[in-house]
């Protein structure tokens, strides 16, 4: 089991990915070997206006260099401040937190549905699958956005050798439309149904992916977001209602949930 810890790290690389996206790499993070795709770190942002940490999915790690990467989009006060950090700034990370994605079986095809800030954990997931020997041709990576500018770091997905399906609402890259259209098409056409869905992205996309999985009986998981005061299950602030009744904490019981589990 991972034991989360708070630790100071050094921002050693910051890359502007355009369209308000940034990649930030922190060193030296002692828990890199315990990180799993789907988990997140809770980042403390040194600023007058920010009180809570901000949750960011792990986008990748380098065991050798003890580096951890997050990819974030500037959407509000906290992420703006994060985007203003300088290389060599000290940043406190609490993590790794949350329940990771479950691995697909070798025989299964992973159908990844990514969008917006849901992309980083799925990039990490696909990278790790490939690294651990999952056949890249058994990874179908659907990546949706409004326009080509929303689909960041495409070269990194391509390099993995997975089957990459960009989809944009304006058709500026890949198929035109909402990503869940082509996903459904693929699922319906899949010759054998040894599929496993992995979804993370904006609310609409998550809902559609969840609904699709339930309707077509494809197992899989989705990763949720919620504002998170603590990130470690002690404040009860980040709850979502479950289909079976009751609440689950997104930070501790999730953020990864089984398809059909959460009342979205």
């Amino acid at each position: 089991m991972t034991r989360p810890s708070c630790q100071d790290t050094l921002l050693i690389k910051k890359r502007d990915l355009k369209n308000n996206y940034f990649s930030a790499t922190f060193r030296t993070y002692s828990r890199v070997d315990q990180c799993r795709p789907g988990q997140f770190v809770h980042i403390q942002i040194p600023s007058a206006e920010i009180y809570f940490r901000r949750a960011m999915s792990i986008a990748g790690v380098s065991s050798r260099r003890r580096e951890i990467e997050v990819i974030f989009k500037v959407v509000g006060r906290g992420t703006r401040q994060l985007g203003n950090l300088h290389e060599k700034d000290r940043v406190n990370l609490l993590g790794p937190l949350g329940v990771p994605f479950r691995w697909p079986r070798k025989s299964e095809t992973a159908v990844i549905v990514a969008g917006g800030v849901g992309f980083p954990p799925l990039l990490y997931l696909a990278s790790e699958m490939v690294k651990r020997g999952h056949d890249p041709r058994r990874i179908e990576f659907f990546y949706g956005g409004r326009s080509s500018a929303d689909l960041i770091e495409r070269s990194r997905i391509r390099k993995l050798g997975v089957r990459f399906h960009p989809v944009t609402e304006d058709g500026s890259v890949g198929e035109k439309g909402l990503v869940t259209g082509p996903v459904e098409e693929f699922v319906r056409r899949a010759p054998n149904r040894h599929l496993r869905l992995y979804g993370c992205g904006p609310e609409g996309m998550l809902k559609a992916t969840n609904e699709l999985g339930v309707r077509l009986k494809v197992p899989g998981q989705i990763s949720l977001e919620a504002p998170m005061p603590c990130g470690i299950g002690i404040c009860l602030g980040c709850v979502v209602p479950l289909v079976g009744g009751g609440h689950a904490r997104v930070c501790w019981d999730g953020p990864v949930f089984e398809i059909g589990e959460v009342a979205l």
Binding site: M1, R3, P4, S5, C6, Q44, E49, I50, Y51, F52, R53, L94, A226, P227, P229, C230, G231, I232, G233, I234, C235, L236, G237, C238, V239, V240, P241, G246, H247, W252
Partner: protein, 305 residues
């Protein structure tokens, strides 16, 4: 010689004066994955009620300047599940266990406390008579000296070990309520619970909490909490547990100087779950530097002008 961090009050000894505040550490299971709970002077559980409660629908927390609002609404597993599921875990923890109890009527408080009376692992009960986030009970009790005294007296009859009354800051005179609790037989006072507050989303015109208001906690309220600990200390001889915006050793020292015997850390746990561990080191270093041998040498020692 290392300074002694032990404190004792109401006949109970604590390894150190740092406790985790109710509602900010669940029943201890999650924090135990970050560090051994033996580091804590005591763990104070989330408020337990007679029946399980889901609490209010989300959003039920909001960030504010140096603080936060919450209207969790006393979400908890209920006394039955608490006894069967949570007590076994707590049995194994090498720390003092204080169970925080809430209710919507005097009878409910008494029933829950009665259920806890023969569980030896429950070292103390903390009565939450100050929750701003429920429609019935909660703050009503803590705003009325007569009800406060009655409630404490009733609980004292069914629970044989010490009872702490946790006071609300949302009153004209907290010292009056403290005196009533003392009159009722309280063994100690916890000062303070959260301040009533709210925040509005100017885009949607909706409150940021579905309960429309909530409790303000965190660093923002520390000055208010300190003044209230001081006011209670001046009027009442019961030991005081200081609460409100504490996030480091120096904050704790301020509370001791104002009259606290121990402190609880709440919201700060959300930002830094191991803050109690850091604070222990800071307190030790402080005592050493000031050549003091115990926390007791600080309690109430503020040098007023």
């Amino acid at each position: 010689m290392s300074p002694d961090l032990r404190v004792s009050f109401a006949g109970v000894e604590f390894a150190n004066p740092i406790m985790t505040a109710s509602g900010c550490c669940g029943y201890g299971e999650e924090l135990a994955k970050v560090y051994p709970l033996s580091k804590l002077g005591a763990l104070v559980t989330k408020s337990v009620t007679l029946k399980p409660r889901l609490g209010h629908p989300p959003p039920r927390t909001a960030e504010t300047a140096s603080g936060m609002l919450n209207a969790i609404g006393l979400a908890n597993v209920g006394i039955d599940c608490f006894i069967t599921d949570k007590i076994p875990f707590l049995e194994k923890q090498k720390t003092r266990v204080i169970v925080n109890v809430a209710g919507s009527s005097l009878n409910e408080y008494v029933e829950v406390c009665g259920r806890l009376s023969d569980i030896a692992r429950v070292d103390m009960i903390e009565l939450n008579i100050s929750c701003p986030n429920v429609d019935e009970g909660g703050m009503e009790f803590g705003a009325d000296p007569v009800m406060t005294e009655k409630l404490v007296a009733a609980v004292k009859k069914v629970f044989p070990r010490p009872v702490i009354a946790k006071l609300s800051p949302n009153v004209t005179s907290i010292a009056t309520i403290a005196a009533a609790a003392e009159q009722g037989g309280a063994d100690a006072l916890a000062v303070i619970n959260s301040l009533v507050g709210t925040a509005i989303d100017v885009e949607t015109w909706r409150p940021r909490l579905t309960y429309n208001k909530g409790g303000l906690t965190g660093a923002a309220i520390k000055p208010v909490a300190l003044a209230m600990v001081n006011a209670v200390h001046e009027k009442c001889r019961l030991p005081i547990i200081g609460i409100g915006g504490i996030s480091n050793g120096s904050d704790a020292v301020e509370f001791f100087l104002c009259g606290a015997t121990a402190v609880q850390v709440g919201t700060a746990l959300f930002i830094e779950p191991d803050v109690p561990v850091r604070m222990l080191g800071e307190l030790k270093a402080y005592l050493k530097r000031k050549k003091l041998s115990s926390i007791g040498e600080l309690t109430g020692k503020v040098r007023k002008y």
